[in-house]
């Protein structure tokens, strides 16, 4: 047990190091690139000047972009007047900012968005439920489909059913999720082929909230489900093939093991041997995946959310990239990396917990 403890301690120690290296790298990249808040403000100013014909904002700033003081103010506001290491430490929350307070991600302050000037965390929090909705449902649904399918394929190894579904599995492996969503949308969400069953994208209908308040719950549920199905299938595509094959191979491995042979030799009924002895052990690799799925569930997917126009974390990240809203991107990256690192350790802990034979060194 001592070896295990030191193993996990070592792993935990690696988490902050990895985290700091990655975020520092990205922070430095952001600081070195054009397109910060000043460029953003100047662009908006120019646009407003163009629409208002030189009045309004131009008078305020003397007609020539931002004044020097305004620029300095903006830089100060986003801590861009500091050097990169200091700026990073302020962002991290271990260096006092201008007002002498520690206010960084360690204190739960992720900074403010360049675009909307509201806290990054509230932006992320507002998109969070959508991504976790699809992430969780997708993950659970792929368990429901893949585990029985894998078991069945293992029991009927090399039968017609096995080869037939193998074809499906390989098809699922080779088609990226967003492409599957596109095809489904093409066939079942547009009128081109006369099979318009589902809506074309979006998380729910525009008037969903109004309908919910009006007490039209049944309509709301139906609407939500019809909006869910296409993205859900796309989400499932990602893990479908890997999980099914993992389940099948692990069950086949166990069915060939000595302890199963012994159980049969004792005269236990086949059902009991398979479902009580072999299956329990072959579920171990599947359980271990839970930790890794943590980051996946959180992060959503750029591709699927862009394809299906779902306003979740992925689309937030995509739009922030287009708008160069670096505080939001840094925040998303920090949370994503952290969850992924913790998820890896969680996988190890789960493995050690469900499988007492495992010894980490």
């Amino acid at each position: 047990m001592h070896g295990m403890m030191s193993y996990f301690l070592r792993r935990l120690l690696m988490v902050p190091i990895t985290f700091i290296l990655i975020t520092l790298m990205v922070y430095a990249v952001f600081r070195k690139t054009p397109g910060g808040p000043i460029e953003r403000a100047e662009m908006m100013l120019r646009q407003s000047q163009a629409t208002e014909g030189g009045g309004g904002a131009a008078e305020l700033t003397g007609g020539e972009g931002l004044t020097k003081e305004q620029k300095e103010q903006l830089l100060k506001h986003f801590h861009l007047d500091r050097s990169i290491p200091v700026g990073y430490l302020i962002w991290l929350g271990v260096w006092p900012n201008d007002s002498g307070h520690f206010s960084g991600i360690l204190e739960g302050d992720f900074g403010r968005s360049y675009r909307y000037n509201d806290p990054v965390l509230s932006q992320i929090a507002s998109k969070f439920p959508v991504s976790i909705y699809f992430g969780l449902i997708g993950y659970i649904a792929s368990w429901i489909v893949c585990i029985p399918l894998g078991i069945f394929k293992a029991l009927k190894h090399r039968s017609l059913f096995d080869t037939g579904t193998s074809f499906l599995v390989f098809l699922g492996y080779s088609i990226p999720g967003f492409v599957a969503a596109l095809l489904l949308m093409l066939f079942f969400a547009t009128d081109n082929y006369g099979m318009k069953i589902f809506p074309l994208g979006d998380f729910r209908s525009q008037n969903w909230n109004a309908m919910w308040e009006a007490g039209n719950y049944w309509w709301c549920i139906k609407d939500q489900i019809s909006h869910t199905i296409i993205p859900l299938i796309a989400y499932m595509m990602a893990s479908f093939a890997a999980m099914t094959i993992l389940m099948k191979n692990s069950l086949l491995d166990n069915l060939g093991a000595d302890y199963v042979r012994t159980a049969f030799a004792k005269g236990l009924p086949e059902r009991r041997v398979i479902f009580l002895h072999a299956l329990r052990n072959s579920l171990i690799p599947i359980c271990v995946g839970i930790g890794n799925a943590l980051g996946l569930i959180f992060a959503g997917s750029f591709l699927i959310e862009k394809t299906c126009n779902i306003d979740g974390m992925g689309l937030l990240g995509y739009n922030s990239l287009l708008e160069r809203d670096y505080p939001i991107l840094l925040g998303l990256l920090a949370i994503g990396v952290m969850l992924r690192l913790v998820g890896n350790i969680l996988s190890d802990i789960i493995l050690a917990w469900v499988d007492p034979r495992v010894r980490f060194q």
Binding site: M14, I17, T18, L21, I22, M25, V26, V29, F30, T33, P34, G35, H157, F170, L171, Y173, S174, I175, P176, F178, V179, L182, L183, M185, L186, T190, D191, N192, Y193, L200, N249, L252, D253, L255, G256, V260, R261, F264, E270, A299, F302, L303, K306, T307, G317, Y318, L321, L322, R324, L329, L333, G336, V337, R340, L341
Partner: protein, 463 residues
């Protein structure tokens, strides 16, 4: 029509010959030059035999590789520029030159052919489609001639209005007059050239040999009219339709195939080479090298690579090479290091390696001659799945708009265009998605067959 069929057959036959005979020979030669023995051991022979016996994988492998080899010569198969063009004593090989320019970018090979030399009057590039139309029916010269004639008349009129300058009129006025005069002369020359060309074409003193599918991915289909979005129609000669800016989708797909596959092959090849070196060093030397570099690989692997590439691509438009390097650095070399490290670890402890160490063979020869040939199984089994992943990565990046520069024929940008027009023009989405799925599926089939052949799992069950 018959000519095209023969052309197609020649292309396929040459492609097959190159893929099956020439290229394996070249690979063996290069391997020998690098000091490897390049002879299959009995085990490898058996594995290859097993791979060949898995029909769907073997045929997918042949199909994909023959298509890829043919696509390397796409400029002389699918190109708006003709293979050969002749007018009187002027000849040119624009498509061949373009292929050469693609393959030898440092030689500065020009593909330009001037209108002046090919009886079209003017100094810009030859309009090959017009050339062809004129060959078929010399009446097609008439609008051109009419236009030039009008220009000549206009130039004459404006020249008449000007008074001829005398000796003591200012210099600028004299020069202006001379320039006008020269302009008129050149217009007249153009008209004469055109009239002469019409006669020459009627006599058959001109010739053009077009490629198999005479359209390019870089220019729009002008023959279909001004509108974009032409749905697929065999009668009009657009088997897969045109994209939103009027470019032929079939050509985009074919050139996109070459770009996707060569991108994936480069990323996988270079990445695995780095992975083999790093993993081999880790496994062979062990100790601190091993521990430190493993930690590094762990940290490096936690970077969300697609996100990082998108961040970098949002700042500078990446080129093909830059994207490949980014993907190699951030992803493709990582996965294989663990497996190679394990293989090296295992092989090093075996007797034959210990014997080689005891008899004083240098580390370098032990690694390259003894261990490496015996530890390449994971590379072979992972490569097809890696290729699938890298093709999808490129398509995803292009789809999101963070990939290759706009104008490059890529499947991802075609799919994006399809999504933007999903309601009105469904054909835009179906073709690139089908091409992508077929390609990826065949590569997966190859991968599955390779895995089955190289690393067979034998399951024994009592009941």
């Amino acid at each position: 029509m018959l000519g095209k069929a023969i052309y197609l057959i020649i292309v396929l036959a040459l492609g097959t010959f190159l893929t099956r005979k020439v290229i394996p020979g070249i690979i063996v030669r290069i391997g020998r030059l690098m000091g490897f023995r390049m002879r299959a051991t009995p085990i490898t022979k058996k594995r290859l035999q097993r791979f060949k016996s898995i029909k769907r994988g073997y045929w997918s492998f042949l199909g994909i590789s023959i298509l890829f080899v043919i696509s390397l010569f796409l400029e002389v198969i699918v190109n708006e520029k003709p293979l050969y063009i002749r007018y009187k004593n002027h000849t040119a090989y624009p498509a061949v030159r373009e292929l050469a320019a693609k393959w030898f970018p440092f030689f500065n090979i020009s593909t330009f052919t001037s209108k002046k030399d090919f009886g079209q009057g003017g100094t810009s590039g030859v309009d090959y489609k017009l050339f062809k139309a004129c060959l078929e029916d010399s009446k097609n010269f008439d609008p051109m001639i009419e236009r030039t004639r009008k220009r000549v008349q206009r130039a004459e009129k404006s020249l008449k209005r000007l008074k001829p300058p005398t000796k003591d009129s200012p210099k600028s006025k004299r020069e202006f007059y001379l320039a006008k005069k020269a302009g008129l002369a050149s217009r007249k020359k153009q008209l004469a050239d055109l009239l002469e060309a019409k006669k020459a074409f009627e006599k058959g003193d001109a010739y053009i040999l077009e490629t198999l599918y005479p359209w390019s991915p870089s220019s729009r289909r002008k023959d279909l009219g001004k509108m974009a979005f032409h749905p697929p129609s065999l009668a009009k000669g657009v088997p897969l339709g045109t994209s939103s800016n009027g470019r032929d989708i079939l050509t985009l797909l074919l050139y996109g195939f070459r770009i996707s596959l060569s991108f994936a092959l480069i990323v996988a090849g270079v990445g695995y080479l780095i992975g083999i070196i790093v993993g081999g060093l880790q496994g062979y030397y062990g100790g601190w090298v091993d521990i430190l570099s493993q930690r590094f690989v762990e940290v490096w692997g936690s970077i969300p690579f697609l996100f990082m590439i998108m961040i970098i691509a949002s700042m500078v438009t990446p080129t093909f090479l830059m994207l490949a390097i980014l993907l190699i650095l951030l992803r493709s070399w990582l996965g294989i290091t663990f497996y190679i490290r394990g293989e090296f670890y295992r092989e090093k402890s075996k007797d034959y390696v210990q014997a080689a160490i005891a008899s004083g063979v240098s580390d370098w020869s032990i690694i390259t001659k003894h261990i490496l040939p015996n530890s390449l199984v994971p590379v072979v089994t992972f490569a097809p799945f890696g290729i699938v992943a890298f093709i999808s990565s490129l398509v995803s990046l292009d789809f999101l708009g963070f990939g290759l520069p706009t104008g490059t024929p890529s499947w991802g940008s075609l799919i994006r265009e399809g999504l933007d027009n999903i309601v009105l023009y469904p054909y835009l989405i179906i073709t690139p998605v089908t091409a992508l799925c077929i390609t990826l599926f065949s590569v997966v089939m190859v991968g599955e067959a390779v895995r089955e052949a190289f690393d067979p799992k034998v399951f024994s069950r009592l009941r």
